[in-house]
Amino acid sequence: VNERISDLLDRASDDGGAPLGFTGSALVQQARAARRRRRTVGGVAVGLAAASVAGVLVATQLLASPHASTLVPTDRTSTPVTPSVPSHSSGPALTRQEQSVVDQCARAHLPAPPVKVPNGQEGIRGPSVGDQIQSSTTVGPRATFLRHWTLDAHLEDALGVTATFVNPSHTRWASCDLAAGETRDGDGVWTAPLPKGPVPQSWYGPNGFRHQGNTVSWSEVCAPGEGKTCARELFAGGLVRYDGVDSARVAAPDGTTVTPVFGTYTYVFRHAEQRVDPHRAPNDNQVLPSMPVTLLDGEGHTIIRYDYFPSYLLPSNCPPTGGC
């Protein structure tokens, strides 16, 4: 096949019309903020030159904390600039409970890496050429790197832990979901790039794959002696916050309004309730109940509303309980 290199490059870089995560005016604001930051950080540096060692340590901790994110030169306009709710952690000053969450998540496992398998063996068919992959093991390596990431938001109850982490350069995030006392399917840690910019209006990224992190996990909560179908169930999730999002309301299947806990970049929630549909099958290979979430800005205005189950944007004419 004789092809022009320019055509090859053009097709290889096809972004599918994906919108940008920034605008010209946002960049102007970012550049101006960067200039102000340079002045501020410069001022701090001059002050530190004459400070004691103790003073330097305090300043270092301040700069390392998520509350000082507007002072970190690598920040972008697309990160939330003024989180209204303090995040739950900062590297140097974890509480015992926060340290316990970090320890638990650092012992959890990442997903197993995919490996290529020969044609004809069982695996997952690739999108275009019929290649196949499968997991080499049931679990991947332990997420020990989380000890060096910032705990962004977390919730722990008698049933387990849901926590989110952000890497030191604020470019990746990790979600950690663990059951208390024992392992269950779906336990573990996964990481993904930290999305930048406003809440996306599409759940599909430029590479055609679905945007990550827009649904939540589900599990049964079983009492001793219960049969296959248990009376209670747990919904838990760690999700990306996006720009301008200040709070969220999640409408649980039993009618409860759940208020997630917000970190600087992410939010988490956990909600256990009596099973609303007693006939639903005891696994998640089924339609889970509608669970709409509303993301709100600082003034309480709705930015977007979508459903975790299934994960799609809700038309404005849908009822507040979702399900359309």
């Binding site: 940008l20 991947g140 930048k196």
Partner: protein, 171 residues
């Protein structure tokens, strides 16, 4: 930068940012990094905006800034840190590698930085040999030789991946 300059800059971003993001993607093979690099480059462009020559050179300058931003990004230590963790959405997913489109991206990433800059600026950003030389601070002969070697390497690598590709433009 005055308000009129701001408006002009915003128009430039609206008109060229997606094309610049595609250039960045060809340089790094990762849309997230491409978007970051495009933002970095455009912020730097804004800072220099009032000093830049408008006639023709602006677009070429922006493309060069994006390729440089990608290379700068690759030199940051945290990229190495990320590479050590097993992530589910890695750019080296075996499914993607065998896809023809992404094979091109994969091959580009294996080019030396200067050759990759030359081939992307010449054949995607559509800069002339002279414009490429000016932007990269090298002479036109070097652009030609680096581009020719890059194309030969791309062709050989694609054939090595089992793709039946002849590249029409070899200089």
């Amino acid at each position: 930068v005055r308000d009129a300059d701001d408006a002009e800059f915003e128009q430039f971003v609206d008109a060229h940012a997606r094309e610049l993001r595609r250039t960045a993607f060809l340089m790094c093979g990762d849309w997230q990094r491409a978007e970051d690099a495009t933002q970095d480059a455009l912020v730097k462009l804004y800072v220099a905006w009032s000093r830049l020559e408008r006639a023709g050179g602006l677009r070429a300058y922006a493309h060069r800034a994006v390729t440089t931003a990608v290379l700068d990004q690759g030199r940051r230590p945290w990229r190495r840190e990320v590479a050590t963790t097993t992530v589910p959405d890695s750019g080296t997913d075996p499914i993607e590698r065998v896809d023809r489109r992404l094979a091109v991206v994969h091959v580009l990433q294996r080019l030396p930085e200067r050759r990759r800059q030359c081939v992307v600026l010449r054949y995607f950003a559509d800069l002339s040999v002279e414009e490429t030389a000016l932007q990269l601070g090298i002479n036109a002969g070097t652009v030609k030789s680096q581009t020719a070697r890059a194309l030969e390497q791309v062709r050989t690598s694609l054939v090595g991946l089992g793709l039946d590709v002849e590249l029409e433009e070899l200089s």
